[in-house]
Symmetry: D2
Subunit: 121 residues, 4 copies
């Protein structure tokens, strides 16, 4: 697996994933609906890692839990990139736009130290 | 928002998100446990977009639904990058490793056109 | 396990679950926050059963999948009852109230054959 | 809405929900796959209530949050009962069986005060 200089990270991954699906004839299963389910199922496995831990314990996982976590984060990125790709959406651009919206919605001076949703103000 | 040439996409986003949290004094809420919940809550909103659509309809969203989808994908990437960042995990590396594992686990000739989980073989 | 005549189903289950937690000294982990995570993790396992199936296939599961499904549904009810119980909420009453709200929100003649959310009308 | 004496709670709710779907011609959307998605989307809204709260705060919600919680719990029970119903699964029986399994899997003396998954022992 060589990554071409100049190509951006997520685009490279999207291409790899397309190839992975093509080689297995799995494009037929990769509808946005199905990929949204697969992504959320992986998010559920993420919750399982943390569900009985205190917030503090979640900040200092032992090595085995850390590897489980890395695996789940990897899985989620894989489905997220794949879902964006089959839907023709620029994932990074979407995150940047959303971050800009959040900056407007939650002006720093107003929400300092307060995590409530904007609708609650 | 300027992005420094040479820095990779996801690292840039991680830095932006760190700054966003710092300015709002929100690091205290961003434990891995809480971020895993926030990520999955966003995944739930993703499901909501698709839940009553046929797989075919999920492939041809109207403009409004497409924008909703882009928003949700952006939200998920934001929390995914933030969770990786506070956990000290290289997200892209994790996805690449997972993809390599999947290539071993699902050899193309064996799983062609068959989406069952590896444990079912 | 004997069920006392006259006591309603979900209340009985709630009492059994309380005893199960007490005997294991697990009440300490059963905060509403943690139980909400556990419930959603189980919902993720539910998605996993269906993610690559067509809607039609999801209606005619083989025996093994059906047992998996029953297990997951059981897990979700367990956490749902437990979460309601530790939060002091009458689960069945909550569902009945919600159903009444839905009847108002989606008048039959208006939404016939159309599954869109009420906010989209 | 009258409930017939002698009929159990969840069966009554299942019948009400069947009627609700019939009157709106929504059975066509209520495949197990779609209902699993709808259930998990509601679970995501549950997470949203708790995501930035400490475990302790999750135990003493203010009145508004408590009503939100009751609404979400009601929604989840509705989809859980409906999914069981269209899949021909006895939900309460499934939960009881699962509880019996859990009693075997987690013998009280062995797991006292320890929430780890059985597979970690």
């Amino acid at each position: 697996m060589t990554y071409h200089a100049g190509r951006r990270d997520l685009e490279e991954l999207a291409i790899e994933l397309q190839r992975f699906a093509d080689e297995r004839d799995w494009q037929q299963f990769h509808t946005p609906k199905n990929l949204a389910m697969a992504l959320t199922a992986e998010a559920g496995e993420l919750l399982e890692i943390f569900q009985w831990l205190t917030p503090e314990q979640s900040q200092s996982l032992d090595e085995r839990k850390r590897e489980e976590l890395a695996d789940e984060l990897g899985d989620i990125l894989i489905y997220l990139v794949r879902l964006s790709s089959v839907s023709g959406i620029d994932l990074l651009e979407a995150a940047r736009k959303k971050l800009e919206k959040n900056k407007q919605k939650y002006p720093a001076p107003k929400v300092k130290g307060d995590p409530r949703k904007s609708t609650e103000y």
